[in-house]
């Protein structure tokens, strides 16, 4: 299954992260008012291991009535405890979550990998430490908000925050919302990703262990219906959302006229601009660090870059995401896999050139081999639509102006990595490219102190940094 054709004598033996210590329940209730409660109606959705298509546990499908219960609990938690707490006390609770999360990092990494399919190396070395860092970072702000913005009168909490997150990094996405919301004095109802709720449920459990007052964090699981109930609930003061642009637009429509505050972190395909003087091996690594990338490459190095990407594809180690040597796991859900397959088919139909590695992916589970498309014309869907991956679409450009025109001509703009050894060219590009984050000669680097978010259809408001605090405060 491995992509590396190792010699007979140096094939890596399996190095599986042990899962025995992970206590999965057969069935999860909802976490409301500091307690696990069964849903009002007996409806469940399975939490699936995307690597094997096996059911890991049954998770409750929260109805509108359940959501209402959670909102009332959050309101009570806010009025009775959380808003009355002096900020340094609030900070202590958030620090405590950070510490316990750090201590139990391995357990959370395994859960995230089991349920989301991201390789254990990524969840253990990036997702969970980064989630922990968000709690530490925001705990530090809790008693300094009066100085963070423009004065004490500007640092009032909003009240009840509904956090709705999707995707395969449910813990990190949840931490990006919960940490600032709590630090700013709000209480939270978390609706984790429908397909990967287990780490979020474990986080709720952790909060209960950390003795958070009842109702400060609540978790309701379920599908889009549950999310809509939360968005439409009149007593929710803010919706913090991470997910698709399409759902973001629906949320915005639903929230119009209700006075609800919104923070929307929407999708968008990372772009890489590779100039002819780029460090090409570095660019290849940077491109493969993102799941799906639109690569704009200067014509003289197009063939060279494509050759290197193709060669690097063959070296990717695909397999059990719990294996510490795995580079590429499955897609998080069947729907995500089907979406990639559909994009690949569209690329072939429209006339782009497809290259895939010569190894095959497992049959069971939601797997997709990485795809490299070259000869992508700017009119193709691969050049216009949001890509999910493993997928790389390569377009060419001739001048920096043309690269910027291409990059800025897309409806969404999240992150752009610029690859060049010329500092002047990097700064020229960074100053003109429309994106939430611009990296130079690196990619996929994040820090809680750096605001993260997109422009245009990639949403507004930021997660992280001083800019991220604003969304959770009455300013």
């Amino acid at each position: 299954m491995s992509g590396v054709a190792t010699g007979a004598d140096f094939t890596y033996a399996p190095a599986l992260e042990p899962v025995a210590a992970i206590a999965l329940r057969d069935r999860y209730g909802l976490f409301i008012g500091g307690q696990w409660v069964p849903p009002g109606e007996e409806r469940t959705v399975p939490a699936i291991n995307p690597a094997t298509d096996e059911v890991l546990a049954l998770v409750s499908q929260a109805s509108a009535a359940d959501v209402d219960r959670a909102v009332r609990a959050a309101r009570r938690g806010y009025e009775k405890y959380w808003r009355k707490l002096r900020p340094p006390e609030r900070a202590k609770y958030v620090y405590r979550i950070a510490r316990v999360l750090g201590e139990r990092a391995r357990e959370f990494a395994v859960l995230e990998t089991l349920n989301g399919g991201r390789p254990i190396a990524a969840t253990r070395e990036f997702d969970v430490p980064q989630a922990t860092a968000h709690f530490f970072y925001h705990a530090g702000w809790a008693d300094k908000l009066a100085w963070a913005l423009t004065g004490p009168e500007r640092s009032r909490p909003l009240g009840v925050v509904g956090a709705i997150v999707g995707g395969d990094r449910s813990l990190l996405a949840a931490a990006r919302k919960i940490a600032p919301a709590l630090a700013c004095g709000n209480t939270v109802i978390l609706k984790p990703a429908e397909t990967a709720p287990l780490a979020a449920l474990a986080l709720a459990h952790l909060c209960a262990e950390a003795d958070l007052p009842p109702g400060v964090i609540n978790v309701v699981t379920g599908d889009a219906e549950t999310g809509s109930a939360l968005v439409e609930h009149p007593d929710v003061d803010m919706i913090a959302f991470t997910g698709s642009a399409e759902t973001g637009k629906m949320i915005r429509r639903a929230a119009a006229g209700t006075g609800k505050r919104l923070s929307l972190a929407l999708g968008g395909t990372p772009a890489a601009i590779v100039y002819e003087d780029a460090p090409l091996d570095a660019a290849v690594e940077g491109i493969l660090a993102s799941a799906a990338v639109r690569v704009l490459v200067q014509e003289p190095v197009c063939t060279e870059l494509a050759d290197r990407l193709r060669a690097r594809f063959d070296l990717l180690r695909v397999g059990d995401p719990l294996d510490r040597n795995t580079d590429l796991g499955p897609l998080p859900s069947r729907a995500a896999r089907d979406r990639v397959a559909e994009l690949v088919a569209s690329g072939i139909d429209e006339g782009a050139t497809l290259a895939q590695p010569d190894w095959t992916v497992p049959e069971r589970g939601f797997w997709c081999p990485p795809s490299l498309f070259t000869n992508v014309a700017p009119t193709y869907r691969l050049a216009r639509e949001e890509l999910t991956g493993p997928l790389v679409a390569v377009l060419t450009f001739r001048t920096a102006e043309e690269a910027l025109e291409r990059a800025n001509g897309l409806p969404s703009a999240h992150t752009v990595s610029v690859w060049t050894t010329s500092g002047a060219l990097a700064l020229f590009t960074a100053a003109r490219v429309a994106a939430g984050t611009v990296w130079c000669n690196t990619s996929e680097r994040y820090d809680p102190s750096a605001p993260f978010g997109g422009v245009k259809e990639s949403g507004w408001a930021r997660d992280g940094g001083l800019a991220g605090l604003r969304a959770y405060l009455e300013t």
């Binding site: 010699g7 140096f10 094939t11 460090p279 570095a282 690594e285 000669n441």
Partner: protein, 292 residues
Amino acid sequence: MTRAPVRIDAVMLEARAATLVKRAIKASAKRAGIDLAIACLDLTTLEGKDTPDKVRGLCARGRSPAPGAPSVAAICVYPNLVPAAVRGVAGSSVRVASVSTAFPSGLSSLDLKLRETHEALESGAHEIDMVIDRGLFLSGRYDAVLAEIVAVKRACGAATLKVILEAGELGSYAAIRRACDLALAGGADFLKTATGKIGISTTPPIALVLCEAVRDHTRVFGRTAGLKLAGGIRTTKAALGYLALVNETLGPAWLVPGRFRIGASSLLDDLLMQRASGVSGSYSAASYIATA
């Protein structure tokens, strides 16, 4: 060469190298890796206090490090100890490598460097580990560096030439890559990271730069070369990490003594201890490992 100099940037290079040396090499892979590391070892002694007796002991150890273990690839010594090494390895597959060209500084005339090389070869050395003249390199006289490499290569004839770049003195990964490309253009059979005589010898990103240079040279010119990582590799864990780095950059075809070497003096002790634990299930005290 009409090709533009290869561009290198530190950030992703270091990230990729860190990923590769952190591969989990367990169980059967670890056992195979240990024997592979032994088979690719240039067992080295390069001290002012070296004597023919010390070298004879080293050779005996290199020929049969432990029951069932492969012999090392070569014994690496100073030129005037080559005769002792040649006697020590006689009748075995172990080769004799001699450092040369005013090792470790490389600061003498080309005439002296060539004479030293000839002498080592006449004494029976199978391999020459030359150092590049960093003074020439850092003052930008790349053609002169290339000319020296070409001259030593010619002097080597059929003997294997390893070119020591002393990467830690070159100042940047881009400069290291430039030195790699010069050495390969000059006909180096192996690129070698370091003399082991300065603070920074071999690091994972430096090893990765060498691997990428060899890979690109093979792809563009169709001529393969090997690489030798020397200096500071003292533990089995580090050695296995470098095997993984080579495995996933150049491929398993490079995991043979003809294309890959580790230059080390104390590494063999740890490899044998780890090997013994793999065989017996428990770690032995250091005193159970025969040292030279």
